[in-house]
């Protein structure tokens, strides 16, 4: 099965082949490297930019201003911060122009911890991102969703921030991407660039891919349950899956949010009203975390349904994620933290 990064790459290929996607660009996005995580390897329209994040975002806005579709990449979410006023502008362009200038652009960036990336390769951006009105924000947790969300993002007439959970980029999918060859070795041979001098004349041999969309704004119940709703996305979702695997005596309903904004409130609400307990997990720092908004809304709209206060597990409010594994695991939620919090919520119920 394809890895997540292969899924993203295939979606981008589908985009340039069928969806009039004209430009994919970023630092080292074009040949020979095709992206530091290889997400843009072998793509016809991928090109290298100067090492200038503001230029990348500005260029994406300028291309989209003409109505043409593009995908820009910021090499790591940690380096997106110096573009924040341009992100604000991209989000308000349609609103400020009273509906006259939509910006059909996608900005993708690897986000989050889990690869021992130290202070500047571990940061999350999701809670910052959802405050940028006018943007849509998505984050997949598996290769098939990564494929389907990218196709939806390319087709969306609004700016879409596509967060790639960097720790999951090499994780293999459980589900087949439509059109992907049966044998994963064959897929690798066809679309992964060889190392060394063989790369110079290499061209990918793309499989015949099909359109598959994961609608933006729609989450998914991945496992049904009765006692508690566990909500997450991206890498934290993956950890949630591990956390509940061997959990005895508690029946957990697991939701993969997939879209952070717009978010699937109907799904969340119907689930926590049934289970009457909720835990939301992500990696961004905890103060003014996006999950607090969801928890607040649960209290506002579901107070009398709840058996325990809705809980949020997120990154500690510290300036960075330290390199030593002891530091990293003390900073962003781990499998054992999720398990403990679930037990606590069950125990604390009235």
């Amino acid at each position: 099965m394809a890895t997540m990064v292969q899924g993203i790459r295939m979606a981008l290929h589908y985009g340039e082949r069928h969806l009039d996607l004209k430009d994919i660009f970023g630092q080292d996005a074009g040949p020979p490297l095709g992206g530091v995580f290889t997400a843009t390897q072998g793509l016809k329209t991928a090109w290298n930019t100067p090492l200038d994040e503001r230029g990348i975002v500005g260029t994406a806005i300028g291309i989209a201003m003409t109505g043409q579709r593009c995908v820009g990449e910021i090499q790591f979410a940690d380096y997106i911060f110096n573009t924040i006023d341009l992100l604000k502008l991209a989000g308000n362009n349609l609103w400020c122009s009273h509906g006259q200038f939509p910006l059909p652009l996608v900005l993708m960036t690897p986000s989050g911890a889990g690869i021992h990336g130290s202070i500047y390769h571990s940061h999350s951006f999701d809670s910052w991102a959802v405050r940028l009105a006018g943007w849509k924000v998505v984050c997949p947790s598996n290769a098939l969703d990564a494929y389907g969300l990218m196709i939806s993002a390319i087709l969306d007439p609004n700016p879409v921030l596509y967060l790639k959970p960097k720790a999951l980029l090499r994780v293999k999918s459980k589900d087949k991407i439509p059109g992907e060859p049966e044998d994963e070795k064959e897929l690798k041979k066809r679309i992964d660039a060889p190392i060394g001098s063989a790369r110079e004349n290499w061209k990918p041999n793309w499989p015949l891919l099909q359109e598959y969309k994961v609608p933006i704004g729609k989450g998914k119940i991945v496992q049904e349950g009765e006692d508690l709703t566990l909500i997450s996305f991206g890498r934290s979702f993956y950890l949630c899956e591990q956390a509940i695997k061997n959990l005895k005596d508690v029946s957990v309903e697991l939701i993969d949010l997939r879209s952070l904004y717009p978010y699937d409130w109907k799904l969340i609400k119907s689930s926590f009203q049934k289970t009457r307990r909720a835990l939301i997990v992500n990696e961004d720092t905890e103060v003014a975390n996006f999950a607090e908004h969801l928890a607040y809304r649960m209290v506002q709209e579901g107070f009398y349904h709840l058996l325990a206060p809705p809980s949020v597990l997120s990154g500690k409010q510290v300036p960075g994620v330290g390199l030593n594994p002891n530091l990293e695991s003390a900073t962003v939620p781990q499998v054992s933290d999720i398990q403990k919090e679930i037990q606590k919520l069950i125990a604390d119920s009235w």
Binding site: G55, G58, I63, M65, G99, P262
Partner: protein, 334 residues
């Protein structure tokens, strides 16, 4: 004043007429502000001699094969030259629902006009230099296109990183962009003087470092401006390479209403100067010039009265146009 009158009498009078129209429109905007009817004023009086010729040289229209404009908040004279009505200007200062550019959301002179490829003007200093490169890039890979992108800004704005971004991205080897980059140097950024902040002799020198053809011109001279802009624009249309122009201009009413919006008599007035020149050269009579001023002033008064009767935007419209095609962006309705 440049003597080489390769412009016809009609062209010279047309430029003068539009300069007066732009000036009268700006002065009426200031008046509206001072009447307490608008919340803020900022605009382009003092830049007409440069900005009107620029507007006249634009191949205006919609789409990639027409010119694109990334203007800053002093761009009104350019748009007047392109045909913008006084009405549209007054709608911005009075923040009316009828304001095409933003429906009363944005500041005065912050235009957004897709019919002429005028990208939304933003208050954020410098950012237009980063965005313009994307549009010029899209034009550069459009086969047989002669269209270009124009980006304008102020001298203090050239301190922002976006200005450097623009020089770097527009001059990449074999990927040069059809971009006209201008800086209207009025020697000020609010209260901070140009002289105190620039180690370089001119801003144009910075563009030269990237092999970008660069000029410093007298932006108070409409004839020189017309010629230089015309040459630059022809050059870009043909060679698909950037050109940089630094135009020395005046800031006739100070920075904005925040600094009083009062006439600064020490600054050179390009409209009066051009008018004296035309009268001296017998291309215009005193009486004709008085008539032009009078007619535009009357038009301005009448237009203000009309626009004041137009509707204000209502509070329940704030959720409109966050997402395209009417899609809801209010989380309460998710």
């Amino acid at each position: 004043m440049t003597k080489q009158l390769s412009l016809s009498k009609e062209q010279l009078i047309k430029i003068y007429d539009l300069m007066v129209k732009a000036r009268v429109t700006e002065e009426r905007l200031i008046h509206i502000y001072k009447q307490g009817l608008g919340y803020f004023w900022i605009g382009g009086p003092g830049e007409e001699a440069f900005a009107v010729p620029l507007g006249l040289l634009i191949d205006k229209g919609r789409g990639i094969n027409k010119d694109w404009l990334y203007l800053h908040y002093r761009g009104l004279p350019t748009l007047i030259a392109m045909g913008l009505s006084m009405k549209e200007a007054f709608r911005t200062v009075l923040n009316k629902a009828t304001d095409q550019s933003s429906g009363g959301r944005n500041f005065v002179n912050h235009y957004s006009l897709p019919q002429w490829n005028v990208a939304p003007v933003t208050s954020v200093i410098g950012v237009q230099y980063s965005m313009a490169i994307g549009t010029a890039y899209a034009q550069s890979r459009t086969k047989d296109s002669k269209s270009l992108t124009v980006v304008t800004g102020g001298d203090a704005g050239s301190h922002e990183g976006d200005f450097a971004t623009c020089l770097i991205w527009s001059s990449r080897p074999k990927k040069e962009l059809p971009l006209l980059i201008t800086v209207q140097n009025n020697q000020w950024g609010i209260s901070t003087s140009y002289a105190n902040q620039h180690g370089s002799k001119s801003i144009a020198d910075r563009a030269r470092a990237f092999q970008i053809e660069s000029y410093v011109i007298d932006g108070n001279d409409p004839v020189e401006s017309y010629h230089q802009l015309s040459q630059a624009i022809q050059n870009i249309r043909k060679n698909r390479r950037p050109v940089f122009i630094e135009a020395k201009v005046s800031r006739l009413y100070g920075h904005s209403s925040a600094s009083g919006a009062n006439y600064v008599k020490e600054e050179e007035c390009c409209v009066k100067k051009f008018e004296s020149f035309l009268i001296k050269e017998k291309l215009l009579t005193k009486k004709q010039s008085e008539e032009i001023w009078f007619n535009y002033k009357e038009e301005a008064k009448k237009t203000q009265r009309e626009v004041m009767k137009e509707e204000d935007p209502q509070g329940n419209t704030i959720w409109n146009y966050i997402y395209d095609k009417g899609e809801n962006a209010d989380w309460r309705k998710f």
